[in-house]
């Protein structure tokens, strides 16, 4: 297991009380595998990713039952262990590429500083690797551009620089928070292909956060569907697309237009209702207010988890009914 995390909980103090944003998340990624984390905005995807990196604000309260990454057990002392692993064993691409580069340092400096420290590379060797990485993410004339500052690059170029930067240390696990949202489709395809190549070359494991189910279909081995701070369904990508079990997953899939199938101009079936507030404790299924199959049992706590074969589970009172 490249990543094995059990019962991750993240709470943030707010003016209105403690926000339980992540409420018991389990994530497992095998070596060389890609897990896609999907779910609507605000469900806690970025908080999950950032807490795995140990880069949440000091105020955040994080607990886990088990936390293993790249062969290290981090359950007891996550902070100390992560400090040694960041940049070499695990790297992260943040959601907003425009602000993730320091405006006062050259791109070359920002790409090379990590490996010059962690791998004791010379400037020349680090720059050679930076040029290679920039080339791979599709930045033209990379050697000359190392001396430039971030504001000389477009948003999409900066995002690619961020991807190159995350790959500089040849990590074993890459956490990518919506790495391709600002990119046009050709570049997006190029980046996904690059990630695939790296996976083949280096046995890279990827935790990819995305809204884009097209990206999921292209790259995911497994998919975890997150709703209101919990994983409500997890399945191999193919199985999930073919036979979604959770009513929420079905709603998500129904919201994608399929050319030739969805009548042109027809409204896509949106999921009615709103996500429940996560301040204080939430009992029972968080989705029941929006669920067409909701039953009185859905208020029972905890929500039963049904394992279906290897690596697949769904958290729903009545998943069989949901699947028909």
């Amino acid at each position: 297991m490249m990543l094995d995390i059990r019962d991750l909980r993240v709470s943030l103090p707010t003016e209105r009380g403690l926000l339980n944003a992540v409420r018991g998340v389990d994530l497992q990624i095998a070596r060389g595998q890609t897990l896609c984390l999907v779910g609507e905005s605000g469900c806690g995807k970025s908080l999950t990713a950032t807490s795995i990196m140990g880069l949440l604000t000091r105020q955040a309260q994080i607990t886990t039952d088990r936390f293993e990454m790249a062969g290290q057990d981090l359950t007891r002392k996550p902070a100390a262990g992560l400090a040694r692993m960041r940049g070499r064993d695990v790297a992260m691409i943040f959601q907003d590429p425009t602000s993730a580069l320091n405006p006062t340092l050259t791109v070359g400096r920002q790409l090379t500083e990590g490996v010059m420290r962690s791998e004791k590379l010379s400037r020349r060797a680090a720059e050679a690797r930076a040029v290679e990485m920039l080339e791979r993410v599709g930045i033209s004339n990379p050697a000359a551009r190392l001396a430039q500052y971030p504001h000389g690059f477009s948003g999409g170029q900066r995002q690619r620089i961020m991807i190159a930067s995350a790959l500089m240390g040849r990590p074993k696990l890459l956490i990518a928070d919506e790495p391709t949202t600002a990119l046009d489709v050709t570049i997006q395809a190029q980046i996904l292909q690059l990630l695939g190549e790296l996976q083949a070359d280096l046995g890279l494991s990827i935790l990819l956060i995305t809204h884009d189910l097209g990206v999921v279909a292209a790259i995911a081995d497994d998919v975890a569907v997150m709703y209101a701070g919990r994983i409500v369904e997890r399945a191999p990508a193919r199985d999930l697309f073919v036979r979604p079990r959770h009513p929420y997953t079905r709603g998500l899939l129904a919201a994608i237009p399929v050319p030739g199938v969805t009548p042109r101009g027809s409204a896509l079936p949106a999921i009615p209702g709103r996500v429940p507030g996560l301040i204080g404790t939430l009992r029972g299924c968080a989705f029941r207010d929006r669920c067409a199959q909701a039953a009185p049992d859905c208020a029972a706590d905890p929500v039963p988890r049904h394992g279906i074969g290897a690596g697949r589970f769904v958290e729903c009172v009545n998943p069989e009914e949901a699947s028909t």
Partner: protein, 306 residues
Amino acid sequence: MLSFLSRRLFVAFCVCVTVSALSFALMFLSGDPAIAIAGAGGRAEDAEAIRIAYGFDRPLIVQYLDWIGSAVTGDLGQSIYFNLPVTEIIGNRVGVTLTLGFISFLVALAVAVPLGIAAALRPNGWIDRIALIIAVSGQAIPSFWLGLMAIVVFGVWYGMVPISGAESWQGFILPVIVLSYYAVPELMRITRSGMIDVLATDYVRAARAKGLPMHLVISRHALRNAVLPLVSLAAVQLGQLLSGSIVIESVFALNGLGRLAWESLLRSDLPVVQAIILVLSLLYVLLTTCADILNAVLDPRLRGAT
């Protein structure tokens, strides 16, 4: 960078011209300078003679060019009260003020910047609270009172330092403390708030994600961006400190520029007042120009680099 530099220097030059014209105009602000020199009870013939002797009868533009021409060569005219060259009078007094101002500035920076950074690293931590107390008290306590109390306690009661004058270096200890205490709060607050803003940015988080240790994240990524607002403020503060504080110089009996300006005003010694105003204005222009250039060195966006 070159185009930024030439643009910035051109602006500075224009400001210098404006400032010098304004200081020149001061001479005429209080009415006819010839009458002012002759004194309120002076006769009309005396005023007329003075007008010719000082050249006040010439066109204004000629007088200005003449004045600025000699000012450039270091001749700022004669003091009416001392009957000595203004340059000499200012030269005698400026040393004390510059020494006091520079040292106080350095002390204030040495206290404010590390304290501001430490406070920003843990907002509401104990260092932050101490910093807050220092800031609030520094702004609330008037410097003349603090100066007098310091003299009473350390000079009179304990006799640790001389209570007045600048004959020995010990004489500077109390004024430096009082003056820097006055300068610390603003410098510290801008360091703290700049640092808190920068520490919350995505690029600082990205730097940590690369595995850089915290001290490098702070020194390389955070500090450089956090000091940008500090540089501009520090230039203005240094200008204030170098202008000489009338209060501090009076309390500690230091013969500096602040007191000279005050005394000359009382004596209607206009050439001295005018010269001090000119010198201080040019000093401000110099300092703010340097601050802008320093900021451009730190931030490539300001100098239009790619």
